[in-house]
């Protein structure tokens, strides 16, 4: 009886692995070309990120230090921290929005890919954890190390957006 249960469990596991491998193959296939709106949004997103990250470079900090006024230095530190936290808040809301929209569409979809759903869920959890970490890091140490991590989180978010769209092809992710 025990052996029979073990064999059944093993067979089920093999079937699951085969299913995930097949779904991964499908998910890895090239996606449809971007529409003009997608391209416009992608260009705008890249430009916005570039402008945002520019503000967290060293130039402004160095310039304000040359002025030798603690009030202006404090104002710069306060404002940069505030903007960084707002950005993190907005990106967290974006990630939640993508996931909620995906879940809504997934409920109506007929042929869901298990591996795609697992990948998306893992990306979502990873992003939320990263945003929490970023927010705490900015609160404690300030936004000095934000640039690199912001690029990283933004890349995951963009990937999640694209992947969420391809996982349920009928849907349009906003």
């Amino acid at each position: 009886m025990i052996y029979a249960s073990l064999i059944a469990a093993l067979l089920l596991l093999l079937a699951l692995v085969a299913l995930i491998a097949r779904s991964l193959q499908t998910a890895g296939q090239p996606q449809e070309a971007f529409s003009l709106d997608d391209r416009k949004n992608a260009v705008n997103d890249a430009l916005n990120l570039e402008i945002f990250l520019k503000a967290f470079g060293d130039d402004d900090q160095r310039f304000v230090e040359t002025l030798g006024d603690s009030r202006v230095q404090k104002l710069l530190a306060y404002e940069r921290k505030r903007i960084a936290l707002r950005w993190i808040g907005r990106k967290t809301a974006d990630a939640r929005g993508i996931m909620q929209a995906h879940v809504r569409r997934a409920r109506e979809a007929k042929d869901l890919s298990v591996s795609a759903e697992i990948r998306l869920a893992l990306q979502y959890v990873e992003l939320l954890a990263l945003f929490e970490f970023l927010a705490i890091s900015v609160l404690i140490f300030g936004p000095a190390g934000l640039r690199k991590r912001a690029l990283w989180t933004n890349a995951i978010l963009s990937d999640m957006k694209r992947f969420g769209q391809s996982a349920v092809p009928d849907a349009v992710v906003r």
């Binding site: 416009k40 430009l47 402008i51 520019k54 503000a55 310039f63 304000v64 404002e79 907005r90």
Partner: protein, 168 residues
């Protein structure tokens, strides 16, 4: 922003507006304020008589909207040194007393009307934040100038080149 994504008539209107009007306005901040002034506060629609007469009203409005977003992004991406420099130039060109100008800009925050409607909210906040800091820098500059007699210690220049003092 990519100009390639504009329809042909809007692109022509934009190029005409850039070469005939914007090219004559010396600083990015003045260009931004000028373009924002072509927008109706109540409807949010852009209008420019000359441009609408040469092109259609719709194409002119879209060209102005595009130019507005482009000018806004240019100002938002400026480092604080350059932004302070440009606001100082604008303040001088306004012929207003620097203290009165700074009072009005710091209290009324009129620069908020220069924000286009269709921009990323974080970039809009960054713009407001940068202008606030630049105004604080100009206020500091002004205070130090009034505190010290002429010939006293000079502040670091705001721009790459040495700027003339706020008051001659």
């Amino acid at each position: 922003m990519e100009r390639k994504i504009l329809p042909a008539d809007v692109l022509s209107a934009y190029e005409d507006f850039s070469s005939r009007t914007l090219a004559r306005i010396p600083t990015a901040i003045e260009r931004l304020i000028y373009i924002a002034s072509t927008r109706d506060y109540n409807s949010g629609l852009y209008h420019h008589d000359g441009l609408a007469s040469r092109f259609s009203a719709g194409a002119a409005a879209k060209a102005l909207q595009f130019a507005h977003i482009e000018a806004f992004h240019a100002v938002s991406a400026m480092p604080l040194r350059e932004l302070s420099d440009k606001i100082q130039q604008y303040m001088k060109s306004s012929r207003e007393e620097p203290s009165a100008f700074l009072n009005a800009w710091q209290k009324l925050e009129p620069y908020r009307v220069a924000i286009p409607m269709e921009v990323d909210p974080t970039i809009a906040e960054l713009f407001v934040s940068n202008v606030k800091i630049a105004l604080a820098i100009l206020r500091l500059h002004l205070l130090r100038q009034t505190d010290r007699p002429s010939g006293a210690l000079q502040l670091p220049s705001l721009g790459p080149r040495s700027l003339p003092p706020l008051r001659s």
